[in-house]
C-alpha cells in the first residue's frame, strides 16, 4: 500500500512535465490530471471487488490446499440466485443478500461434504479436474436455465449516485459501498481466523489434518464449514457483481482469473495482501481502459505477469 501513493504522485508530476503548446493547455492538463486521478480512484474501488473475489479463493487454499476452479462460476451462480430472489419476491438487491448468502453457504457445505472432500489428498489432479468439471456443469446449467442473454440487477438510485470529493473528483456511491464491504469482509476473515475457536480449528486442520482429528476435530465438517464461509463471501461478491454490470453464464472464468491474480500479486497467505493485489489489478485495468478501451483486460494481466516475473512470491508473502 505504501508504495502506491508516491507512485501516483510521481506519475502526476511526470505528466506535468510534458510540454505545453499554448496557455490553454494548462487548464486542459489540470483537467486531464483530474481525469487520471478519477481513473485511479475508480481502479482502487474496483480492486475492492476483485479482492472479494480473491478472499474466498484464498481462504479455501489456506485451509485445505484446494483451488476451486469453479469459484468464478459460483460467483455468477450467486448472481443468478439473487436475480431469481429479487424477481420472484420483489425485493431489492441488498435485501436479497439475506437469501443469497445462506443459500450459497448451504451449497458450499453440501458441495464440500458430498463431493470435494473426496478429492482432497496428495494428488493434484482430482480436485483440479473435479472443480473444472464443476465449472463446466455450472456454466452450462445456467445456460440452460437462463439462456446466454445478458442480465443485470437493478439497485435503483444508488447505482448512479455519486459523491463529489472536490477538485473535480467524484466517486460513485455503489463502488464505495463495494470497497467498504470488501474491507469489512477481509477484516472479518482476519478476526475469524485469529480470534475465534472456528478460526483456530481452520488453522489447526490446515497445519496437520491427521493430528487435528486426534484432537477431536472432524475434518470433513471443518472443511465443509470453510467452503460454506467461502461461498458466503462469494454470495456477497455475486450480488455486487450483479448490480454493477451486465452478467451472463459465461463470465465466471474471468472472475476466477481476476481473483487468482489478486492472490498471487498480494502473496499467498496474506489477506490484506489480497486487497492490495486486487487494487493493483483494478488500477491497471482502469488505466489501460483510459489509454485504449481494448486494453483494459490486457493491462490487468500484464500487471500480473510483471509481478510474477520480478517478485513471484508476491508483495506480502506469509513466511511459513
Amino acid at each position: 500500500m505504501a508504495g502506491l501513493v508516491p507512485a501516483i504522485h510521481v506519475f502526476l508530476v511526470a505528466k506535468a512535465w510534458m510540454p505545453a503548446t499554448s496557455a490553454g493547455m494548462t487548464n486542459e492538463r489540470l483537467r486531464s490530471d483530474v481525469e487520471w486521478l478519477n481513473t485511479i480512484l475508480q481502479g482502487i474501488l474496483l480492486g475492492g471487488l476483485y479482492a472479494m473475489f480473491a478472499a474466498g479463493l484464498s481462504l479455501i487454499f489456506g485451509v485445505m490446499r484446494l483451488v476451486n476452479i469453479a469459484h468464478g462460476d459460483l460467483i455468477v451462480l450467486a448472481a443468478y440466485v439473487a436475480l431469481v430472489a429479487t424477481e420472484t419476491l420483489g425485493i431489492g438487491p441488498l435485501t436479497s443478500l439475506l437469501i443469497v448468502v445462506p443459500v450459497m453457504a448451504a451449497i458450499g457445505y453440501a458441495l464440500q461434504r458430498a463431493l470435494l472432500n473426496r478429492t482432497l489428498g496428495d494428488d493434484l489432479l482430482p480436485p483440479l479436474l473435479v472443480t473444472f468439471g464443476l465449472s463446466v456443469i455450472i456454466q452450462n446449467g445456467l445456460l440452460e436455465l437462463f439462456t446466454a442473454d445478458s442480465v443485470k440487477l437493478n439497485a435503483g438510485a444508488v447505482e448512479t449516485a455519486s459523491v463529489s470529493l472536490g477538485g473535480g473528483l467524484a466517486v460513485g456511491v455503489l463502488p464505495v459501498i463495494q470497497f467498504v464491504l470488501a474491507i469489512a469482509v477481509i477484516w472479518g476473515l482476519q478476526w475469524l481466523f485469529y480470534r475465534t475457536a472456528l478460526g483456530r480449528a481452520f488453522r489447526a486442520t490446515s497445519d496437520d489434518p491427521a493430528v487435528a482429528q486426534l484432537m477431536g476435530l472432524n475434518n470433513a465438517h471443518v472443511f465443509a464449514l470453510a467452503m460454506a464461509l467461502s461461498l458466503a463471501i462469494v454470495a456477497v461478491a455475486g450480488v455486487l457483481l450483479a448490480v454493477r454490470a451486465n452478467f451472463d453464464p459465461s463470465i465466471g472464468p474471468a472472475r476466477l482469473i481476476f481473483g487468482f491474480e489478486a492472490v498471487i500479486i498480494g502473496g499467498l497467505g496474506s489477506m490484506w495482501g489480497t486487497l492490495v493485489g486486487g487494487i493493483i489489478i483494478g488500477v491497471a485495468q482502469t488505466i489501460g481502459a483510459q489509454l485504449d478501451p481494448g486494453w483494459n483486460l490486457l493491462a490487468g494481466h500484464i500487471a500480473f505477469l510483471i509481478v510474477l516475473a520480478i517478485r513471484p512470491q508476491g508483495l506480502f508473502p506469509k513466511v511459513n
Binding site: 475457536a197 483456530r200 493430528v211 482429528q213 486426534l214 484432537m215 477431536g216 472432524n218
Partner: protein, 234 residues
C-alpha cells in the same frame, strides 16, 4: 464384573498388505498406568494409533467400557474420553502455546482439566502462552502436547514416546508430573523406548516384539533377563 476401561482383544492391524499387529490382547483398568515397550518397528505406535482411531480395525478388537470402538473415527473416540499425545509432539505450528491447548479443549468435555489447571501442572508454559509453538524447546513442546491432550478431559491418555529426543533431565522432569495426572483420575498407556522410566512409572508392562505380545506382567515381577529376552526375541 464390570468392563475394564480399555480392552484390546486379539487385535490385528495392517498397513496395506503388511501385517503390523498379530492378535494383540491388552487390558487397562481405571487408575492404571500401563507401559508398552519394545524395539523399533515392534508395533507400539501402531497399537496406540488403533486405539486412538487413526487406524480403523475390527470394531470388537478394541472395547471401551465394553463398547466396541475399533472402527470409529478419531474425533469420535476423543469425544468418548480417549486422548493422544502423538509421537514427535506434532504441535500445530501456526498456533501459539495457548491456542494449541485450547484446540485440545475444543470438544468441551467436562472434567478437572482446563487452562488454569494445565498451567499449574506446567508453570513454564504460562510464561510462554502467546509464543508460537515451534519456538519452544523440545521439552517444553512435549509439555504442551501433554497439556493439549489433557484439555480434552480424557479418561484414558495415550502417550507415544514422550521421551523421544529429550535430555535425561528433561525426561525426568516430565515424568515427575505423571503422578499428578494419575491423581486426577486419568489412566495412562505409555509407549516408551526408555525402559527404565517405563518400569518406574508403570504398574503393568507389555512388551511387543514384531507385532506380538512377547511378555506381560506387573512391573515389579519382571526381571532384566526376561525383558531382554522378550524385547529382542532371543
Amino acid at each position: 464384573m464390570s468392563d475394564p476401561l480399555l480392552a484390546v482383544r486379539a487385535l490385528d492391524a495392517y498397513y496395506g498388505d503388511f501385517q503390523a499387529l498379530f492378535g494383540v490382547t491388552m487390558q487397562v483398568g481405571e487408575g492404571d498406568v500401563v507401559a508398552v515397550i519394545g524395539a523399533n518397528g515392534a508395533g507400539k505406535s501402531t497399537l496406540l494409533q488403533c486405539i486412538a482411531g487413526a487406524m480403523h480395525v475390527r470394531a470388537n478388537a478394541i472395547q471401551y467400557y465394553g463398547v466396541p470402538i475399533g472402527n470409529e473415527a478419531a474425533h469420535e473416540i476423543v469425544a468418548r474420553g480417549i486422548a493422544m499425545v502423538p509421537e514427535g509432539r506434532r504441535l500445530f505450528p501456526s498456533l501459539s502455546v495457548e491456542e494449541n491447548l485450547l484446540i485440545g479443549g475444543q470438544l468441551g468435555r467436562k472434567g478437572p482439566w482446563n487452562l488454569k489447571r494445565v498451567y499449574e501442572l506446567f508453570p513454564m508454559l504460562e510464561e510462554r502462552r502467546d509464543q508460537p509453538a515451534p519456538s519452544l524447546s523440545g521439552g517444553q513442546q512435549q509439555m504442551v502436547a501433554i497439556g493439549r491432550a489433557l484439555m480434552a478431559n480424557p479418561r484414558l491418555l495415550l502417550c507415544d514416546e514422550i521421551s523421544l529426543g529429550l535430555a535425561p533431565i528433561v525426561i525426568r522432569d516430565i515424568y515427575a508430573r505423571i503422578p499428578a495426572i494419575v491423581a486426577e483420575g486419568v489412566s495412562l498407556v505409555i509407549v516408551e523406548q526408555d525402559i527404565v522410566q517405563a518400569l518406574k512409572i508403570a504398574r503393568h508392562v507389555y512388551c511387543l516384539q514384531e507385532g506380538h505380545v512377547a511378555l506381560q506382567g506387573e512391573a515389579a515381577t519382571l526381571t532384566r533377563e526376561k525383558i531382554t529376552a522378550a524385547y529382542f526375541g532371543v
